[in-house]
Symmetry: C2
Subunit: 385 residues, 2 copies
């Protein structure tokens, strides 16, 4: 089969963009991605977005963005899978190019958490849980994470500051990423003194909701323009798995079953072992998600994912570098754009363009986009050719 | 290339389902579609939905429905393109099977307009227009249709009752469809006396918002179970085009450009002429949409689409039968499920299972799902093998 190449990448700063709306935010990323691809002309647009219908009163983003980005007429659609919307949109773009029916696909993730017109971000976010059984009880995303984290601490005897390493690593890496929301390293004392968001989840255990847009241009290797200037990055595998939507429906809530399944499928499809993976962009919406994702992927046994952070194994130069450009924690969490930020960052790493964040000799990157507590898990393996 | 077959179909009654929620509504259609397919096991679920995040406080429908329909773990995602969400979901399922990476795809469209928890259907529907420039001014979907209809009447000298034929045909056909919301024929006097929704759009020019779910199972022809009992219906072509989202951005608002483009692409891809098409399931959310869609598809010259209705050419047995099982007008308009209802109905016609609605010797059907005033147009050609 023909390889699907990430030919172009673009991303905006992550942060609070009070002065810019959804369409302009998306355009900024799209413009850069198209230019970076050497001017490829997309025939199809896949938009990853999580909450615009609620937060900005704007659905039907596909056609809005196709037109606003100067591509009036092309196929366009919105893809939604909560926090995994970006990864899911990347998956649809990949399938479209793989089908042979679309030569060049543009995938953009965009999210605006500021300027919301609706009932606030927490209420909107809760629509991505099992609304009839979870949101209706007042359970928030942070509340879900707190339930998981407390259970994990109890089950495995993890101390209160056992999760500090996730935030410390993310913030240390964010310093070198010019697009990151937070570019300041934090000390372990700051973690220990942080206020609680939803105990035991503290401020540094939770990724910040942010505005942002990121985009990639996908095409087949034989369609790249002459003189294409970048090292070739291909999508070596793509896999999606799902779990129950509601946390209370799971027999093994700490298992992150869908995260595990999707990594195993992706590894199987690409034919690679865990040892061959050079870095892992996990979905660290919460520290506990990072720990569980490391275990689900197989990088640590059950109950020991937190030790990888405590022991420095996830730092740049460690055994499995994670959140190499800040992750959700320090780069920020721009909802449905997040999965595309991961793709852009992984491409930068594989091209050797990650600057101060560069993982040396990175050849194979694993990226994973989660919706809810791994209710949806979208996993891609990106490889330098 | 291998053919993509609509192997299974299922649909619920269209109407006001006060006693049943989104997940159960979807399950009813899914269960029937799986059974109809001879028990194929889907690996991927594509959900077409338009307004659940606003009307039911429920996003993340992919995983919710995968789990609730007994398929926990499979790939699942929501696809949104306003009123074309159903058609767009069908397109994603088609691309997935065409890619060779998914053997069996389940596509379900579901919508609940009753029981809304938000600010009402009109406000939610307006989020699918250009919210910053149209909804903010109070422009509704019916208001857009009224602008188009009045302009059409002015431009082409069409009398006030010139559009009656669309409603009369749809309601006449709905009588024979056990799933239709309205199963009662109407007389031209009823049309003439109908109250205005948004002048000149009267009650019979506008399709009723309704609850419903419809599903199809897609697979490759070589994967059909032994003894598969139905005539084979394949997706002969699939095409999507877009226009401006806002009506005021168009130079030629009566052109329905995206509808035209997508039909031409679909015909080109399948290699069929207009004359070979045996029936047309258009997106008659409004009578004016039906007229413009007929013209855009090429069945009538500009300004003469209404004559096809007035002259009986769209009736069963006419030159180009339309809305053969009631269309949006009489079967009802269940938002993002609509495009899947069209697919199910077309499959019934092509299999020869359309009962009282049967178009004799139907071999090739054209279905078109529109988002907004043809802002998004998703067109499929279905063919009996």
């Amino acid at each position: 089969m023909t390889d699907v190449i990430i030919a172009g990448i673009g991303q905006t700063d992550v942060g609070e963009h009070w002065g810019i709306g959804l369409r302009d935010l998306a355009y900024a990323a799209v413009k850069d991605a198209i230019a970076d691809s050497g001017g490829l002309q997309p025939q199809a647009l896949f938009v990853g977005n999580m909450l615009a219908p609620n937060l900005s009163n704007q659905a039907h983003l596909g056609v809005l963005l196709a037109d606003h980005c100067g591509m009036r007429g092309i196929e366009a659609v919105t893809v939604e899978a909560a926090g995994a919307s970006g990864g899911a949109a990347l998956r649809q773009g990949y399938l479209a190019v793989k089908s042979g029916l679309v030569d060049v696909a543009l995938v953009v993730g965009v999210e605006k958490f500021t300027d919301q017109v609706g009932g606030g971000v927490d209420a909107a976010m809760a629509t991505t849980s099992d609304s009839d059984f979870e949101a209706v009880q007042g359970l928030t995303a942070s509340g879900q994470a707190a339930l998981l984290m407390r259970r994990y601490m109890h089950e495995y005897g993890v101390p209160a500051d056992g999760f500090a390493g996730f935030a410390l690593t993310a913030h240390a890496n964010g310093v070198g990423n010019p697009k990151a929301m937070f570019r300041k390293a934090i000390r372990v004392e700051a973690y220990a003194q942080a206020e609680m968001v939803s105990a035991p989840v503290n401020l540094f255990d939770a990724a910040p909701n942010a505005d942002g847009a990121a985009a990639v241009v996908l095409t087949r290797s034989d369609l790249l323009p002459n003189g294409y200037p970048h090292a070739l990055v291909k999508i070596a595998a793509s896999a999606v798995s799902t779990d129950t939507l509601a946390l209370h429906d799971r027999h093994d809530p700490l298992g992150f079953w869908a995260a595990r399944e999707s990594v195993e499928m992706a590894r199987h499809r690409a034919g690679v072992t865990l040892d061959e993976i050079d870095f892992f962009e996990y979905h660290d919406a919460y520290s506990i998600y990072a720990a569980l994702s490391l275990e689900a992927a197989g990088f640590a046994p059950r109950g020991e994912g937190w030790k990888l952070a405590a022991q420095g194994a996830i730092a740049r130069g460690g055994r499995i570098p994670c959140a190499t450009m800040g992750g959700l924690k320090a780069r920020g969490f721009p909802g449905g754009a997040t999965g595309l930020y991961q793709a852009v960052e992984a491409a930068l790493q594989l091209r050797g363009q990650a600057g101060a964040c560069q993982v040396s000799e990175a050849r194979l990157g694993l990226i994973q986009s989660l919706g809810g507590p791994a209710s949806t898990a979208v996993t891609h393996l990106l490889e330098k050719l």
